[in-house]
Symmetry: C2
Subunit: 516 residues, 2 copies
């Protein structure tokens, strides 16, 4: 029996795992696969530019090379990647600078670009071609993956000098099992929405049909840099706490560890904690903390009143910029954008929800001005659009569960309304590595609901004001229609026909004043 | 700049990755997390029993231990796990016997049970306790994970002799951040549906509320063993082909490689292929095959007429057993279950779709016999129920897209109908490691649609028969109401009042004959 059912036990590399489970990285469906490729590269470019404080200029080319076979090239003006890291960044799974950093960024898992290299290899056998210009050196090479070892295969490496002012990354790959489509799921829509959420970036898209779409930046300011922050004690689990004690603070006490490692933990707060859990020795070494003690500490965290985490770890797009984007692109009758303080969810992770609502005007009209579709929900996470997996996304579900009738919108799906929902966080809880759908964490769902309802109320105020105004106008018109008749009748009854005009003028004045 | 933005580049273990992305393994939401734990253990138990040809007996205990803190124990009568593999199977990510095997099984990724160990560790700090009785030896131990290394931590190991007849695995863990609920997403519903799809298993569930639910097996036959099979040439990609050539067949020719490595490739078929791609030398070593040659071969594969893949690689539950299950549990008015030949999707992967439809009777009635809900879709993959992520699942989407009015069901959501959809395959394309949702592969969606429509037509036939029968009955009743009047009137007109009764009898006979 051993031989039959236990004989083939072995371990697999994470590269082999994702090769077999490519759909987990967003490579399922031909249209989606192409959008995923552009998404991964564009996301990395925007992150790199923001990190290096460069106003991003990103150009994307998609060219048809055969049946369901396309060449994709993405070029940015970012800092480039130094030689020693290039192969890891683009051809090794789970490696990168981003993993486990406590800072808001679009990518966060060290998989994306390597996933694209993988997809090129398994659909066309072609490694990706890379040109990285970094600090006066231009590196050109081809990158493949040794799947069994999860190691990069570098070939055709050329190293040249270049001007230090000439910097950036260019990646080019040939992919099959992909399809270009001009739909809400295509590369075009993806880049348009990327432009909406990144008004500081210039984005150019060269389509396979020879069109060239340019979204020039509408502001010249680089967004405030998202600061890497310490975790907040609220919501941290015992496991996170124990993780933080590892390998550090050998010579410090638990009390200083707590102050050093967490945000908002002052000496006074430590004293409060000490009173709550007198059985824990705050002079102990942090590394000696047991699970039981960690559990007690975490329970105590929840009893203390904390200041909310710093806001500078999350950088919203901002009310004014979202409003500008929505006005420019949708030309609506009204726009309202929320401005809400950051909240935290599981593990003391700060996040902000921004909701923009655009109603009426040209919203959801087609090029000829005819209504093309009803309510649209545009989902974003850390300035990246989410086009797929809407069904399983906390944003979609929350919007669906709202009773839109309360907001004078009889049926969200039939109204000329566009809702932008943007979740910003140092760690967005995606439901899968494909990063297209947000997990329904309770705190997150609550905040999304509240923000959408706030936006909804503004639309309601506008619509109910409009409705009342309309009612008032028609009421006034109705009354005015009688004024003439009444003034005639009254003057005749009073045998003062000459006074009719004066009477009418007086009555009209009354009505006008009443309906002012 | 280097220091700032590239300084922290490092590689992460797959265990660290999933620890940070627990929601990818189904650990999102407290209710779902508990169901995921039971799902992973029960799935492994059923797979192990089937593999070892043992009629499964699985008992599950869920006990409340504190606020959102439960102890879960799962015991089976399977073959147990030998000592040398125990720690890898339950405390190492991406290791196991199942990965990359070309055989139908419930689990397939070597993550599930290790994910549960991970969840116990990060929510309560407790390793899981295991008792494995395998071939006369009982191993007891506790298992934790070294996340940085993705290595097991074994403690409290005790090894004892036991009777060789006493075999099986018992796993017990304590988990927090979980919640027991009696809903469609809870452990109870999960195990009930598991029983529906596994009529050869006895499943017992001891709930935290002290109830004991027993689902005894309804058949004593172990399902035919799913055979590990070779891939089918249809749909195989060049990359899969090149993968198969690696490390093997050093002394054979391409022509024999093709015959040995694929199903349905005979010498005649190789000759056909040779004529289609004369530029490929079929005497070459398989390991020398280039990407271009592989691409040409794959293109040629698609031009040849192949016999469908063997059916014994996929084992459906079977029409009669599904019908039995649905009748027993739902007591419907009618049941219809499809019986369709296997199909293949991407990569020549065989699959079968089984659809059972139950209509009327007690379907979707509550305990008091009142209609409790409208149409229900029960999704299964390789005999495991899928309870979550319905929105993103190919099954749900396909069912939703069907025009149910055509099948005399005005609105699927309001009708007393239960639809069972079971996808069986050597490799089910899940959308995420949480394995709750099936990716919308074109071939799969087509087959699901066709199978559901086939089942729909049976319901339609039944309903339209019923409708016509009803129309006929009411028409007959209407005509009969006139017979008495007419026979009276006619007999009076003809001055033959005595003949009224005879006339009436004749007319009635006519009507009865007409509506027979």
């Amino acid at each position: 029996m051993d031989h039959d059912i236990f004989g083939e036990f072995r371990e697999y590399s994470v590269a082999e795992f994702f090769k077999k489970n490519r759909q987990m990285l967003g490579f399922s469906g031909k249209v989606r696969s192409l959008t995923t490729i552009v998404h991964e590269y564009a996301t990395n470019s925007l992150d790199a530019c923001d990190e290096a404080r460069i106003l991003p200029e990103i150009e994307v080319w998609v060219a048809e090379e055969g049946e369901e076979r396309y060449r994709v090239k993405v070029r940015d003006n970012g800092p480039g990647i130094p030689e020693k890291l290039l192969a890891s960044a683009l051809a090794t799974m789970l490696s990168g600078t981003k993993f486990n950093r406590y800072v808001q960024q679009r990518g966060q898992q060290g998989i994306g670009a390597t996933g694209c290299t993988m997809y090129a290899l398994i659909t066309t056998g072609q490694p990706v071609k890379v040109v990285s210009k970094h600090k006066g050196t231009a590196i050109k090479c081809s990158l493949g993956i040794d799947f069994k070892q999860n190691r990069p295969i570098v070939s055709d490496l050329i190293k040249e000098d270049c001007s230090p002012d000439d910097h950036g990354l260019e990646v080019e790959g040939t992919f099959a099992d992909v399809k270009y489509e001009k739909s809400g799921y295509g590369v075009g829509e993806y880049l348009k929405r990327t432009a909406i959420a990144n008004p500081h970036a210039t984005i150019i898209f060269n389509s396979p049909e020879g069109e060239r779409f340019t979204y020039p930046r509408s502001i010249d300011a680089i967004p405030r840099k998202a600061r890497e922050v310490q975790p907040h004690p609220l919501g941290i689990g015992p496991n996170d706490l124990l993780d933080l004690t590892k390998g550090k603070y050998e010579s410090t006490k638990l009390s200083s560890f707590l102050q050093n490692e967490f945000t908002r933990v002052s000496l006074n707060k430590v004293k409060e904690l000490q009173e709550l859990v007198p059985e824990v020795d705050f002079n102990m070494k942090p590394s000696e903390l047991t699970w039981e003690q960690a559990e007690k500490l975490v329970a105590a965290f929840k009893k203390v009143k904390w200041i909310a985490p710093e806001t500078d770890s999350v950088v919203p797009i901002s009310t004014s910029q979202i409003e500008k984007s929505l006005r420019n692109i949708l030309n609506p009758e009204i726009v309202y954008v929320t401005e809400r303080p950051p909240k935290i969810y599981r593990g003391g992770i700060p996040f902000v929800v921004e909701v923009g609502i655009a109603y009426g005007g040209d919203v959801n009209k087609d090029k000829e001005g005819k209504p093309a579709s009803g309510g649209v929900v545009m989902r974003f996470a850390n300035r990246a659009p989410l086009l797929f997996d809407a069904g399983g996304c906390a944003i979609t579900q929350t919007v669906k569960d709202i009773d839109w009738k309360r907001y004078e919108l009889r049926n969200f799906d039939d109204e000329p309304v566009a809702l932008l929902v943007h979740v910003v966080s140092v760690h967005v809880p995606y439901t899968s590595a494909g990063k297209q759908s947000i997990s329904a964490e309770d705190d997150l769902v609550d905040e999304i609901r509240n923000a959408v309802m706030e936006a909804g109320r503004q639309v309601q105020r506008h619509l109910s004001g409009k409705r009342k105004e309309k009612e008032k106008v028609s009421k006034k018109a109705a009354i005015l229609r009688y004024v003439n008749q009444i003034s005639g009748d009254l003057s005749e009854l009073a045998d003062e026909v000459k006074k009719k005009e004066k009477l009418r003028a007086n009555l009209e004045k009354m009505v006008q004043e009443r309906f002012e």
